[in-house]
Amino acid sequence: MGFDLLEPRTVAEAVELHARDGNAVFLAGGTALLILQRQGLPLPRRLISLRGIPGLDEITAGPGGGLRIGALATLRQVERHPLVVRRVPLLAEALRQVANVRVRHTATLGGNLAHGDYRLDPPAPLLVLGAQVRAVGIGGEREIALAAFFRGLFETALQPGEVVTELAIPPTPPSGGTYLKYALSSNDWPCVGAAALVALDDHGRCREVRLALTAVAAAPVLVRGLDELARGEPVSDRLAARLADIAAAQVEPVGDQRGSEWYKREMARVFARRALLAAARRAEAGPVGDGTKEPVA
């Protein structure tokens, strides 16, 4: 079925176009939309392409060691960008595991988040990095914490007509991070994805522990209540296992061909624990973040 492609040159124009046709949909990289179309989901009459808007794909240093990533930056651009590799290697590591190089050259970070698919990898690392989404709508601009962004299955906090324009990643404390993608075959969607960030104090005790899981609920899960247990504790298998139990209690998996509800919950536990331990190991080896040395490759 046909559609018309509108190509605004500014964000304001894009938002304005949507105001004129509320059924229109924003198109970033387009990979997800074109797949949905193929799967029989009727696309609206008008697609508003954001690709022609200059400057929306820039990646720049934020204040104090943070980062700003334009929503239209492709996953591959982000993954390979020296600032990303240096400041948030966790994100680069996760993006390397998304789909394939071709998709990553086309799909954008903003589009990925706005899509809201519960099985996507990038939300997990971005959740533990405390990212903020900047969105622009007809009523103006606002910032949404990523932790409040994912609402449910293909449901986000974006209002109709709002466009994601930028992602801000605040400075991270000196820490180690990792993203583990567990899939049943090398090219499959994750059965579980786990991102962890662990910051240690000078005595090697936990200062801060963050963990996010994907594919185990209708939306990505930022696990809560870990610091209460972990702060001041030395890293141990026992601690990791207890934290993983907390994580497993917060997921609400839906059984699918990649695992029953039982199995996915079990794997959430397993990969939460593994990710925490691996992140802690990296934090011990050479933390990354705010004013610290560069990561060990």
Binding site: I35, T178, L184, C191, Q257, A278, R282
Partner: protein
């Protein structure tokens, strides 16, 4: 690894000569049916059933017919009104209508077809067709289909007359069993009574899809002279010609089927698929019509049988196999396709290549309201090997015997009788087993279960794993009777052409046939052109499948080339005044064996015979094998086949104790290829089928809900990719020359697929002490089996894992 004749010598066979299709294929210029464009061509689309079983009450195609660009809309109701048309087809039973008549039988059954100016117009119009269904209760699996009083998928059946081995088949009346193969040898019940141990298990193997990267595609048109020309992605051009001639009431000469390169087949493209409906649209519109399936449609067109195997074995105290009773249930889906032959041929091997005096086999072909199942690389054998090789391993383990030694002791040897009563010939199964066992260092370190491994850390990620090794063997028989015809033309300049209906689908048949002709006529491989199947000029061939082309077409081409050589030598012997028996052909020359400088170049020989340039010498041959049909009640036959092919696999696996995920660390697979014509291509076939089978063992599986396929796209159907290939994987060529094979060759297309799943399953057992009986070996199944079987140990292990350090 056996290295055969890869040194530098003048021979064309036995060497890994480069592929003759290389330049075409790396430039993207190799033409597939999908690239075929005929002037004035229309595009077709199908409307498919959304229900698994329903009566068609009414179809309204009015809106579709008037949609812009539409030339024709055809439904099942139209078919029955077309004079001279027989709308039913199928290689075993003519049970499939070109478009559903009266009833639909699976979700995806074609109901109507549209031809229009563009793909989009055709697809849009198909969606405008309104169909009113009366839903019928459906049988969605074998169990439901076999229940007394179950709804019938087919009320009537008509056997096809295309193949000798299938002409006599009879369906069980008023049931969904469309074919029941029986084998009875010895007295199974008495033997069970005498057995010291009886093993009884049920194994299952799921539906899987071939997923050739090129989906099914057909282009058809009718010439002014009344010739129906069909170019199609088919592995069986001769059969398709026959089928179309019968459907449309045309002489065979008026149906021309051509096949360019195939983008993979693996059994999916055997027999008639899109050809009847595309030809119908071409005849209706008098325009060329192209029908190409989408990837999603491909998934509901044909698949590998889901199989349940109940296997019971009686064993003497010393380990001798006294009796084996096997019941195999094949979910054939809504249409039989070639399933009865699958059920027969795999059925009679279901007890394995072992010396067992008492055997009882029942193999049931069952209709269900699922998409049709048919031939898939291995033709049902991998499913039964999974059962008998898992159980054979369980027997050895239970008796405390080494699984390799146990198999060696009981495998059939030359001259022994198979379960069918057929004497075994040219059977290197023990050599294959030994080769793979050696390759994975069987007996060193962890032949069986290893002690619990210490926690391993990869990039700081802790994992607790166990490792184990396993082996399995497999046997399959070449299809018999079976026929291949070929024509070889030698040109005056020393180049040659081969006319053959063998389809080049990646296996390297063009190169292989060129090698055989080059060897026989003493010409260069690159100077031999293999003409792709064109039923107007290439002779009948049963099919490109079933590991049969090297043996059958190889023989036909070799004999045809020999007839050319006779003519060549006859001419040369006159000129050289020497007995033709003393002549040889090599390097483009004919010469006297004992005096090589006494000879003529090929152009000189032609010059002696013909007073014109560019002339040809032609040789033809038909190679035909025969078989004695298996007895209807006992399945016995002194000759079920002319060629057995055997292989073995060995795996070393690592199982993650927390996730249940199985990783294959090392894999070896050996195939008895007779003598390799092109060793590298043999290894590619062995390795390729092994990798695909590893995927099917670990994760490939079609998921259905209420008859609806739920993972029918590449986004959700898992296929082995680069990183699923084991870090060490070794294809091994084992050579036991076949006395009737061309240059001693057998075939190798499927051998590597037969025993893979069982080898991996046995390795998992060696690692965990847990035997999995259902494929694929998903991590969840493995984890569950570990916990169910050994709750106490699992709990202990859990505690250990959470302990400090």
């Amino acid at each position: 690894m056996t290295r055969t004749g890869e040194g530098r010598d003048a021979r064309a066979v036995g060497r890994s000569v480069p592929r003759v299709d290389g330049a075409e294929k790396v430039t993207g210029r190799a033409a597939y049916v999908t690239d075929c464009v005929v002037p004035g061509m229309l595009h077709a689309a199908l409307l498919r059933s959304p229900l698994p079983h329903a009566r068609i009450r009414r179809i309204d195609a009015g809106r579709a017919a008037t949609h812009p660009g539409v030339s024709a809309v055809v439904t099942g109701a139209d078919l029955v009104q077309m004079p001279g048309l027989d709308p039913y087809f199928g290689p075993a039973f003519q049970d499939q209508a070109i478009l559903a008549i009266d009833k639909v039988r699976f979700v995806g059954d074609p109901v109507a077809a549209v031809a229009a100016a563009t793909r989009e117009a055709a697809r849009e119009a198909a969606q405008l067709i309104e169909v009113e269904y009366e839903e019928l209760s459906a049988v969605l699996d074998v169990q439901a289909a076999l229940r007394a009083g179950a709804p019938l998928v087919h009320e009537r059946l008509r056997p096809s007359q295309a193949f000798a081995d299938l002409m006599g088949i009879e369906a069980e009346r008023q049931t969904n069993v469309c074919y029941h193969f029986k084998l009875r040898r010895g007295d199974v019940e008495r033997a069970f009574a005498e057995a010291a141990h009886v093993f009884e298990d049920t194994y299952t193997s799921p539906a899987a899809q071939h997923a050739p990267l090129e989906p099914h595609v057909t282009v058809a048109w009718v010439t002014e002279g009344g010739l129906l020309h069909v170019t199609s992605s088919t592995q069986s051009p001769s059969y398709v010609r026959l089928s179309l001639a019968r459907i449309f009431g045309l002489p065979l000469s008026k149906v021309r089927v051509t096949v360019p390169y195939l983008g993979g087949g693996y059994g999916a493209k055997t027999y008639d698929k899109l050809e009847p409906v595309t030809a119908l649209l071409a005849l209706r519109t008098r325009r060329p019509v192209k029908l190409q399936l989408t990837r999603e449609e491909e998934f509901v067109t044909i698949h590998k049988h889901a199989v349940t195997t109940r296997i019971r074995t009686g064993v003497a105290a010393d380990g001798r196999l006294l009796a084996r009773e096997v019941a195999v249930y094949w979910d054939s889906g809504a249409y039989a396709d070639i399933a009865p032959r699958v059920v027969h041929k795999s059925g009679y091997t279901a007890a394995g290549p072992y010396a067992i005096p008492n055997v009882k086999i029942d193999s049931y072909c069952v209709y269900t309201n699922r998409p049709p199942a048919g031939a898939f690389r291995g033709f049902g054998v991998p499913q039964v090997v999974w059962a008998y090789e898992s159980q054979t391993d369980a027997i050895a383990t239970r008796l405390g015997l080494d699984p390799v030694a146990y198999r060696r002791a009981h495998l059939l040897r030359e001259g022994d009788l198979f379960a069918t009563g057929t004497p075994m010939r040219s059977l290197a199964v023990i050599e294959c087993l030994d080769a793979v066992a050696r390759e994975i260092e069987w007996g060193s370190g962890l032949a069986g279960s290893s002690p619990p491994a210490p926690e391993v850390r990869e990039a700081g990620v802790p994992r607790r794993v166990l490792r184990g090794k396993g082996v399995a063997v497999g046997i399959k028989a070449a299809l018999a009777p079976s026929i291949s015809g070929a024509t070889v033309m030698l040109n005056a300049d020393g180049s040659a052409s081969v006319l053959s209906s063998t389809v080049e689908m990646g296996q390297g048949s063009d190169t292989l046939l060129a090698q055989i002709v080059a060897e026989a006529l003493g010409v260069r491989v690159p100077d031999v052109q293999v003409v792709h199947p064109d039923t107007a000029v290439t002779p009948y061939d049963t099919i490109t499948a079933a590991t049969r082309s090297t043996f059958h077409m190889g023989n036909a081409v070799l004999q045809a080339a020999a007839r050319v050589r006779e003519q060549l030598f006859a001419i040369a012997s006159d000129r050289l005044e020497v007995d033709p028996d003393l002549l040889r052909a090599r390097d483009g020359r004919v010469f006297v064996a004992e005096a090589e400088d006494r000879g003529l170049t090929i152009p000189e020989v032609f010059g002696a015979a013909f007073q014109a340039a560019g002339t040809t010498l032609v040789g033809e041959a038909v190679y035909q094998t025969s078989a004695i049909p298996t007895d209807h009640e006992t399945g016995q036959s002194e000759r079920v086949t002319v060629m057995w092919f055997v292989g073995a696999s060995a795996a070393e696996v690592e199982v993650d104790l927390e996730t249940g995920q199985v990783r294959v660390l090392r894999f070896a697979t050996a195939a008895d290829v007779g003598r390799p014509i092109n060793p590298h291509h043999c290894r590619q076939q062995i390795l390729g089928s092994a990798v695909t089978s590893i995927g099917q063992t670990l994760f490939e599986c079609l998921h259905f809900e209420g008859g609806q396929l739920t993972n029918g796209s590449f986004l959700d159907y898992m296929i082995a990719g680069y990183r699923d290939v084991p870090p060490i994987i070794t294809p091994i060529i084992v050579e036991r020359a076949h006395p009737e094979g061309p240059y001693g060759a057998k075939g190798v297309g499927e051998t590597g697929a037969l025993s893979v799943a069982a080898a991996i399953g046995n390795a998992v057992h060696a690692a965990l002490g847990v035997r999995l009986r259902d494929l694929p070996l998903t991590p969840e199944r493995v984890l569950q089996a570990m916990r169910e079987r050994e709750p106490a140990r699992a709990a202990r292990r859990g505690q250990v894992e959470r302990g400090p350090g």
